[in-house]
Subunit: 225 residues, 2 copies
């Protein structure tokens, strides 16, 4: 009986996710699901990313957190449109929550919607929210063993951001183990080293976003004009 | 129907947890449930803690991870008894998994069992494993906003360990916000600043463990001899 309930939840989620994705694709908006452990630097990276993009490529953010509106307040400084989704006890966002969040946005003229998922390396992995692609952050202070320990999450990544790379020297961090584990688990997603503090890697990451918008929703944009 | 299933799962878990706790109490073993986000330093702290305690106060560890035996291998260097519990897709340990783990241990003469939970700040909060007390780690690189963002977890703490405190200078970290948030959420649990790298705080943490063993399972020990 338990398994049946879980199947129902996942099936319903998938249906709503597909509707979300269609709606975003038709609007020419690339939607990124941004995932990581708590405190890996999702909000700081999005602040830098949106500050860089927003003028030419307007961005919106849906921010998932159990409680507080702290991340939304931080993001409101750089982006015109921010919606906070408080999940209470929920350990991940669902497609229905994202649908409700999208209802609060004006998609006209938007280039990107970033969904900042709840900080969690397990539960969000199985829930499609209607994104076009997934960015997964792994911060250097978390250690270099996380790809092997959370393979189900990392298998779903379209791009992997090794964040807080500015700390790698003080931590004596070796990204070699991360690369080796990724070779077994996910050879599709590029690994970009980033630091929201020093701006290292922001430009390659922004280029990845622009190219992927072009590739994933650009064709439809071209054919509709 | 979904709610009913969740209730059944939690009720069954609670029953097994109580059995685990009774079994540990009767053996004079203090059982700690150690929780945090991924990469907060649970394994490193346990390595240091057990190296300090093990000679006079024998320790065992049950290590929960989705995959790999890396943490168990690290802990086997300092502790005689280590059991790895791989949860697969499971986002937290359950009391039944701990029961199975305890079956692998020889409790005679043990002073402490540490349960290293799956790295996750949401799901493990609601699952009693049969522990006597909970230690929750929060590492400085995760930022100082996590108590407010994950209050349900921090409310359940008996002791809070602010880990990787050696990085506080380079991070310009201010623990004031953590203390302020804790004043609203949990005034019962002491906050101990620790570093497995520099050994800061290991001694106060060890003293907390010894005092709490005495307090929580010592009475029964005294009356049984």
């Amino acid at each position: 009986m338990q398994i049946r309930v879980v199947q129902n939840v996942l099936e319903k989620n998938k249906t709503v996710a597909c509707e979300n994705r269609d709606r975003l694709t038709i609007s020419g908006v690339l939607c990124m699901n941004v995932l990581s452990a708590p405190g890996s630097g999702k909000t700081s990276l999005l602040q830098k990313t949106i500050a860089r993009l927003n003028e030419e490529h307007p961005c919106a953010v849906l921010v998932g957190d159990l409680q507080t509106t702290r991340d939304a307040e931080r993001l409101a400084d750089v982006s015109a449109q921010v919606v906070q989704i408080n999940t209470g006890r929920g350990c991940h966002l669902t497609a229905s929550q994202v649908e409700a969040g999208l209802n609060e946005l004006n998609l006209d003229g938007l280039s990107f919607v970033f969904i900042e998922n709840v900080g969690n390396m397990v539960c969000p992995a199985g829930f499609d929210l209607g994104e076009h692609a997934r960015a997964i952050l792994l911060s250097t202070p978390e250690g270099s063993d996380k790809v092997a320990k959370y393979p189900i999450l990392f298998q779903t990544a379209d791009v992997i951001l090794l964040s807080k790379i500015d700390l790698s020297e003080v931590l004596e961090y070796h990204s070699q183990q991360v690369s080796e584990d990724l070779e077994r688990i996910n050879t599709r997603a590029p690994l970009i080293e980033v630091s929201a503090k020093t701006n290292v890697g922001i430009e390659p990451w922004v280029q990845w976003l622009l190219e992927n918008r072009s590739k994933r929703v650009g064709g439809l944009l071209a054919s509709s004009t």
